[in-house]
Structures are given as C-alpha cells and as structure tokens.
Point group: C2
Chain length 449, copies 2
C-alpha cells in the first residue's frame, strides 16, 4: 500500500525531509503545510541582508513553492497552518489562512518540523513600532522597511548571543551607532568567558557600545524616538532589535501527548521518531543526541535541521538510518574575528557529572608559519577529560580560518580521540597556509602533558 506523507513546516528540516522522500519514492503522495509565506529560507543570512552585505533578499530563498513543485515535485501549501494532530485517526486538521477554511488530511507518516520562534522577554513596551525580533524573512522585510522610512541613527540590540552580535556588526556596517545589551557577564554565553576577552574588546573598538551584566527593564517612547531603560541607564535609540533566544514551536505535539524535553522541545529517538512511532520530528523544534554528553539536548541550529530532516525523510520512507548526533558546533563572524566552538565548553563540562575531572588548556599559535607575512594569532581552548585524556570540547578564536580548524577538532571529538591522538594528526603544512605545528597540535601537546 503506498504511503501518504504529511510534513508540517516548510523550512530547512521539512523541505530536506520532503526532498529526500521524493527522491526515494517518486510516486508517493506527499504534502507540506507551511503557515507562513516563505519556505526554505536562509534565516542565518538575514542579518547580512539587513546590513546590506547581501543586496538582494530574494537570494535568501533557497526554494519557492513554485520551484519546489516544478523542480522537486513537492506539493507545498503556504499559508496553511496545521492546527491539530489527530493520532487516533492519523489525520491533521489544517486551516487555510487566506480562505479560513478548515479541513483534514490523512497521513501514514507525519513530520513535525515547526521550528522555533523568537523568545520575547517580559519587557514592558516591547510590542511597539520600532522594536523587532529577527527570525523570518517577514521580520527582515519589516526591519528593512523601518530603516528606509525612518531617520534611524542609533540602534539598540537587546541580547548578545549569535544573532545579537551579528546584528550589531551589520547595523554598524550600515553606519548606525549601536548599543548592544547583554544580560550575562559575557557575549555569546555558549562560549567560555576567558576565550572571549579579545573579541569583546574588538567589538568595542568597532564602535559598539557594549553593556554586559545589564537588565533591560522597559522600552519607552518619546517624541525623539525610543528609550531603552536598563540597569545600566537609559539608551535613547531609534530602533530596537530583540534577540534573546528562541523557543521551540511544539504546541501541536504537546497537545497530543508527544513527549517533550525540559525546554519544551520534542524528544526523538535515533531514527527521528517521536514517542508516537508514526510521527517524526526534525529541526529546531526537537532535541538531538549530544555525542559528548551522551544525552538528548536542545541546541537549535540550521546544521542539524538540514541533516536531521534528511534522515527523518529517509526513515519515514522506510529506511532505518540513525542520526548519529550533534556537538553543538557553531561559528560566528564578529567583525574581523571568527569564533567557533564544538563539544563541551568548560562550564558545560564542569556542570555535567558525566566527566568527573576536567582539564583545560588555552594556547595561542599562528595561522601560518611564523616567518610568513600575514600570520595572525589563533587561540585554541581545549576541554579534556582528565582521566582518559579524551577531548571533550574546543573553542577557537582568531582573524583567520578558525572555523575549519575547529572542524578538525569536531571530527576528532566525534571519533572519541584523545589529545595524544590529536597531537599526532597528519595535517596540512605549508608556510603560506599553516604552521608545521598547527595551533591545534600545540594545544593538544600541552593538554597531553
């Protein structure tokens, strides 16, 4: 009997699954419901579009419903919101937002790929004109249009995580004065504070008024514009971007008793199945297995949405391919720097009882041979299990290609290598490209002592 597939959500995870199912089963009945206007857009590119580095926002649309239909034979219904899952009858209840019609569609295998939404902190005045979150192309359009129609000279970014720092950079790129307010004593809290020192200085050098340890209490408006009130004083501003994290969109799953984790994200097994074996989940709405913690964790990132969606699609179509798991690997460009991390940070490693004693090392090497012009410092921090000497996590900061250096360590961690193994990796060397002992060798050698 041919299967019928229903996919809720037309972004990275949903469209990856749909594409995979279609390749495996060209004749299968399949429909993707997307409640918004856009599918498969590159959310991570939005800050650079606002900053003018990416000139044409349409480039961020990886797929349109038309291209999905014509090139991939995928039936995508935009402006269609799934409002209920009915596991006993194996149907979903759908609302056509434009016509307001409600109908039911049957599934044999269902994928929940509903993603996450911007978390809105409880700040009075947050829902007024000139205050935006940044998650969808629609958000990007609104900010673009606000910038065009208002004399914006100063912008305030609330939140100093990934999106916050990318927005601060891009708003500076537009020539605006920028204040960035973070609630913690460091930017990007997934990193360890000690490795961020030079980057935080760099942000300030680039003209960002960085206020850490600061709580926003209110967003007021005056004739002159907006006033962000905080524990570090008032900031007069013309535009506020709120980027204080995201929450998973899991109400549909919760309502039918699908098991959720502590942060409200959907729990899945290694085949991407939820607690209902005919219902799969992928992307930012679900947890993933962490390869170092060896437990399920919610780290919503585009990388796992793409790979997990693909695996979910394969398994929905009859496969049994496990999704191995994640390391939380990430990189952020911050003006001239790149900062990258994988596996456990020191604070994560100390917080878990999985590893009883932790060693850390932090060294600075060069991006090229020391005698070759243009070599820049590369700072590597490693987190190591003291008894086994296994590498548990790494962070790298520098002005050069630190991301792919970090990826070497992500690969080493995936392979459960010790620092002695890393120290002996046969890596590329040529004076214009990398030193004979790469900074990751140096760090591993020190950690191995």
């Amino acid at each position: 009997m041919p299967q019928k597939y229903v996919i809720i959500g037309g972004d990275a995870a949903g469209m990856s699954a749909a594409s995979k199912i279609r390749r495996l089963q060209p004749e299968a009945e399949m429909v993707v419901f997307e409640k918004g206007k856009y599918i498969s857009f590159a959310a991570c590119g939005i800050p650079y579009w606002i900053g003018g580095i990416i000139e044409d926002g349409r480039k961020l649309q990886v797929l349109t419903p038309k291209i999905a239909r014509e090139k991939r034979d995928i039936d995508v219904r935009i402006h269609h919101e799934v409002i209920k899952i009915n596991p006993p009858s194996k149907t979903v209840t759908v609302r056509d937002i434009k016509s307001n019609k409600i109908f039911e569609t049957a599934y044999d295998k269902l994928l929940i790929a509903t993603g996450a939404r911007a978390a809105l902190p409880a700040i009075p005045g947050i829902e007024q004109d000139g205050v935006y979150t940044l998650r969808t192309l629609g958000d990007g359009n609104q900010i673009q249009s606000y910038l065009q129609n208002n004399n914006v000279k100063h912008a305030t970014v609330i939140g100093a995580g990934y999106i916050g720092v990318e927005m601060a950079e891009n708003l500076r790129h537009l020539g605006l004065a920028v204040t960035m307010i973070g609630i913690y004593d460091q930017i990007v809290p997934t990193f360890d504070k000690d490795i961020l020192e030079q980057v935080q200085e760099h942000i300030i050098e680039q003209g960002v008024d960085l206020k850490l340890n600061t709580q926003v209490t209110d967003i007021d408006s005056s004739n002159q514009g907006l006033v962000v009130k905080s524990s570090a004083g008032d900031v007069e501003t013309d535009l506020v971007i709120v980027s204080t994290g995201v929450n998973p969109n899991t109400e549909l799953a919760r309502d039918v008793g699908i098991k959720l984790g502590s942060k409200g994200a959907i729990l899945i097994n290694e085949l991407m199945q939820t607690s209902d074996p005919d219902i799969y989940a992928a992307g930012d709405c679900c947890e993933h297995h962490h390869l170092v913690l060896d437990e399920s964790i919610w780290i919503p990132l585009a990388t796992s949405a793409n790979k997990g969606g693909r695996i979910a699609g394969e398994n929905m179509a009859g496969g049994s391919v496990p999704f191995p798991g994640i390391l939380g690997t990430a990189v952020i460009k911050i003006f001239d720097y790149n900062i990258a991390q994988t596996g456990l940070s020191e604070k994560q490693a100390r917080a878990t009882d999985k590893y009883s004693e932790i060693d850390t090392v932090m060294i600075t090497g060069g991006s090229k041979a020391h005698y070759y012009p243009g070599s820049t410092p590369v700072t590597v921090k490693m987190v190591v299990d003291k008894s086994s000497k296994r590498l548990l996590g790494a962070q790298i900061i520098g002005k050069s290609d630190v991301a792919k250096r970090l990826d070497v360590l992500a690969t080493a961690i995936t392979a459960k290598m010790t620092v002695a193994d890393v120290a002996m990796l046969d890596l590329t060397y040529a004076p214009p490209v990398a030193p004979v002992y790469d900074p990751i060798h140096v760090a591993a050698n020190v950690a191995n002592k």
Copy 2:
C-alpha cells in the same frame, strides 16, 4: 647509569628529538652533530624568501647553535660530519670539517636524522654556474646572490612538483619570465590529474610557460646565457632551478647493514627504532607507517620529521610511545589557489591490492553560503573503498581555506570513518564562513549513494 645520546643531523627531526630528550632528562649527556652551517631551518620557506615575500632569510632559522645551547641546553656541533657508525663499539666516527680532525664519540642511543638531498637528474650541463637545486639555506643564499649579480630576466624550473611550482610562483613574483618543465603529463604527480585542470590553467594565466610531458636533455650555455634543451624545444634562460625530487641520506645506515626500504630510506618500527634497537631514525631519511596503506612508505615531509623526531626523542629517553603513522597530508599554494591532499590518491588506491574496488567522486561546492558575497568554488575529490564505504583519500582545490577543510578529512581518515560518517559530521556553519552543507558533506553524500 645515565645515558649518552648522539644525534646525527641538526634539522627538524634531530632538533625535535634533542629538545624532547633534554626536557625529559635535564642532566643527560647529549650531542648533536650537524655537517652544515645551519640547524633547524625552515626549508619550506626558502622559495618565499627567494621570491621576496619573506624579506629576511634569518627568519627561516628556527634555532641557531647559540640559541639551542643557551635556551635549550643542547650541545650542537655544526661543521661536524659523522662519517661512520660503529655499532659493535657503540660509537660514531666524526670529522670536524673546519679542522679536519677525526674523533670518536660513544653513544647509548643514537638517532639518525640525516634528512634527504636534492636528486640530480643525469642531464649534461647540470653542474654549471646558474643552475641550482633548492634544499638548504646555503642553496637559497647562492640563488639570491646569483639573482643580485646577474641580469636575470628569464628563469627555468625543471620539475613541477611541490618545490617546482612554489619556485615558479616566486620567480614570477620577482617579475621574471618563467618556464616550468615537467616530465609527467601533470604538475605535482602525487595528485590525481583530473582535479588539477583548473590549477594548471591558472598557472598558465599567471604567465608561466608550462611544458608538461617534457624531457630535459641538456643544459647548454651561450654568450647570451643558458639554453635548456628539451623534447619540447630549446629554452633560452638566465637561471635554472632543478627541483626533481630528493633522495634519502642513508649511506651511514646502509654501510652498517641497517635495513632500508625500496627507495633507500631507513625502515623503522613504531617506536622509531631501526633494525638496530639502539639506533633510531627520524625525518626525511626514513620511511613511515602509512595509515591507509597499512605499510611502510617513504614520503619525506616536514610534518612527520617534526612529530617523528619528538617521538624518537621520547623513546630514546626511555619512553614507549608509538608514532601512529602518516597520511602524506600536504598543501601547496599555487598563486591564488591552494591544493591539498591526504591519504590515497585515486592512482595510489588503484595501484595497491589492499582495496579491491575503488569509488571516486568529485564535486564542486562553495566556500561560504551561496548567497554570501565572496564565496569561491571548492572542488573536493574523494577516494572510497567500494565495499566498506571507508574514506581512503581526499584532494581539495580552491581559492579559499581548503587546507583546513582537507584536514577535517585527514582526521576522518585517521579515525577510519566511512563517507556516511563524514556526511553526518557536525561542522561549523555561518553564511560568511561556510555553507550549511560544506563541500566535504556534499562529496560524502554523493559518495554514499
């Protein structure tokens, strides 16, 4: 009883071993004999020094005998040639080149780190003024001085391997007309020909007269200068660089019956011991264990000289740390391109009977998100064992940071990963840095089909 250590050769391998021994045994008796004038110099930097990119050749001296003595407490005797090893008496016979005195020194543990020398092809006229090889700082000095004292407008590079292409680039950088002559039908023969096409075109676009499939028959001289005669015609030139590979310096070892491999390099076990257990070898004079071929092979590279020297030192001083082996990982800058390789090339994989059936894939992806400005093509070739889907080798070519991408694959090969494992690696992604599916993911996904 305290040990006495003698080390023959004061370059990367020898000085790495000496430094390690000294750290482990601050009081041990140890001497390093170096027949040349320099120790521990960065041979790989010499082309860039000749090209004027590295302005001060002294920067290429990682250590001087004075610094080695004062900072590391290592007794280095330059201009001292070991002319004989006497295993029965456990002594070496040494000639002080300056005084021509000959003496003997006893060892408990001996390291042969004599390196390799430029191979000179049997071309008539090769030993005349204006014709140079490139291996030592002394060679570099000679070429520099020839360039300063002669009106050199055209240079010919014989040999199109690593050093040949680096020299061609650097001589172009000096503004010279350059002809490069290679005997094979491709440059850099350790790479597969199919991935080199764009780079070979690039070399020609950069003004190098590239003659492949060409045999040099004679180097003649006229009033106007030199004439390189070849199967592709005569080349009038002012300077000839011969870079047609190297041969291991293993006469000392051969003379006392230490076992050598087919290329004349010394065979060692995983502790870096030769067939005489009190005599170790490290660096370009010895073979190393190849992690994919699972056999001993001679691939003389600075990376294994440094790491192997360090391991030899540790084991000479009583340790028992295995040197895991090599992948032949290498990168070369060729004008705007970087080309990098690790593990088996397709031709190597097809030549060995270790793997019965081989698959290869070659794809081109982007260095950054496709919508982010400045993304450049990255071409990845993978060599895969067909039955196990294990990754055996990889080559990457592009204008961006291909070296560290290749290192990810070197790490994956070391961990014996399959292409399915590589496809699921959790690697960094951010639009300005890398696409959500890195080119190495794309290649692995295609190879996994």
